[in-house]
Amino acid sequence: MSAERKTKTIPDWKREEVDDIVGMLDSYESVGIVNIAGIPSRQLQDMRRELHGSAELRVSRNTLLKRALAEADLDVLSEHVHGQVGIIGTNDNPFGLFKTLEASKTPAPIGAGEIAPNDIVIPEGDTGVDPGPFVGDLQQAGAAARIMDGSIQVTEDSTVLEAGEEVSQVLANVLTELGIEPKEVGLDLRGVYSDGVVFSPEELEIDVDEYRADIESAVAGARNLSVNAVYPTAQTAGILLGKASGEAKALGIHAAIESPDLADDLVAKADAQLRALAVAIDDEEALPEELRD
């Protein structure tokens, strides 16, 4: 119906472009929409090159993107197509794609009038700037700064702007002078479709450390079970032997078993007891010299 009519009316080049995009959408396991606003075209080229082999980025008119999504049965992603966006396709899974994109982000300077995407901190330390009016700029920007040892120093980590606030001209200058680049520029994933599920970036953010900790805890738990249930494995047989010999030793020392293997320990235990008893004795006169404090 209406779609048919549209199909008839769009020019050939658009038709080809849409077909092309649909082909791309069909050829990847996961496809997503990324925000590319504010990325200079040269940087975008670099990113595209960097992703080569792991993901493909495609930019087109939003109307054509939407049409292609519809034709590829990916309408669920259309809501993310607004502003400057691109389509990204990969055979990696969505979590992997998110990770790759995050890792490819690069810092960038922030200009006056822009909104801080996160807290901006000027770190403690020597600015390397000779004494002069810059110290006043720093202070005006909200940093704890003073002149020390012949240069301008920031005396403590100073949060000069909180996320969501606007960058002032003074602050922008200070950040430029210090080479601080508080923005992270890169492809911002808005949503990914894979195997019938749309993932939001929040869902895709995985804490690798947590997984690592889980692995360690699983390994430790398995080892505990192996030892505690006395089911020896190549990894735990040594522990079990050590445990058994430790038990034998504890029993031997506890019961003062007269064994050549325990003789040293028994003598040591007697000596330790002697010293412990000596500590409990207040009267120095009652003790041999070796045991007096």
């Binding site: 869902e203 995985i206 690798v208 900790a213 805890s217 390994v219 430790a220 738990g221």
Partner: protein, 69 residues
């Protein structure tokens, strides 16, 4: 935690740690497998040196290993 155990089994048997293998192990144990968790695990473990994590777990007394997911 069964997802992590499944990953460790595959690590021990030397099989590839991918979605299909993980799913197979979990299903063989009667688990209702959540695809997204499998995906997340595979992605996360790409950045974990399991060998090293295992060695580390061995060095540290196992303490309250519980907790986990």
């Amino acid at each position: 935690m069964e997802y992590v155990y499944a990953a460790l089994i595959l690590h021990e048997t030397g099989e590839e740690l991918n979605e299909d293998n993980l799913t197979a192990v979990l299903e063989s144990a009667g688990a209702d497998v959540e695809e997204s968790r499998v995906k997340a695990l595979v992605a996360a473990l790409e950045d974990v040196d399991i060998e090293e994590a295992v060695a580390e777990a061995a060095a540290v007394p196992a303490g309250g290993a519980s907790g986990g997911s």
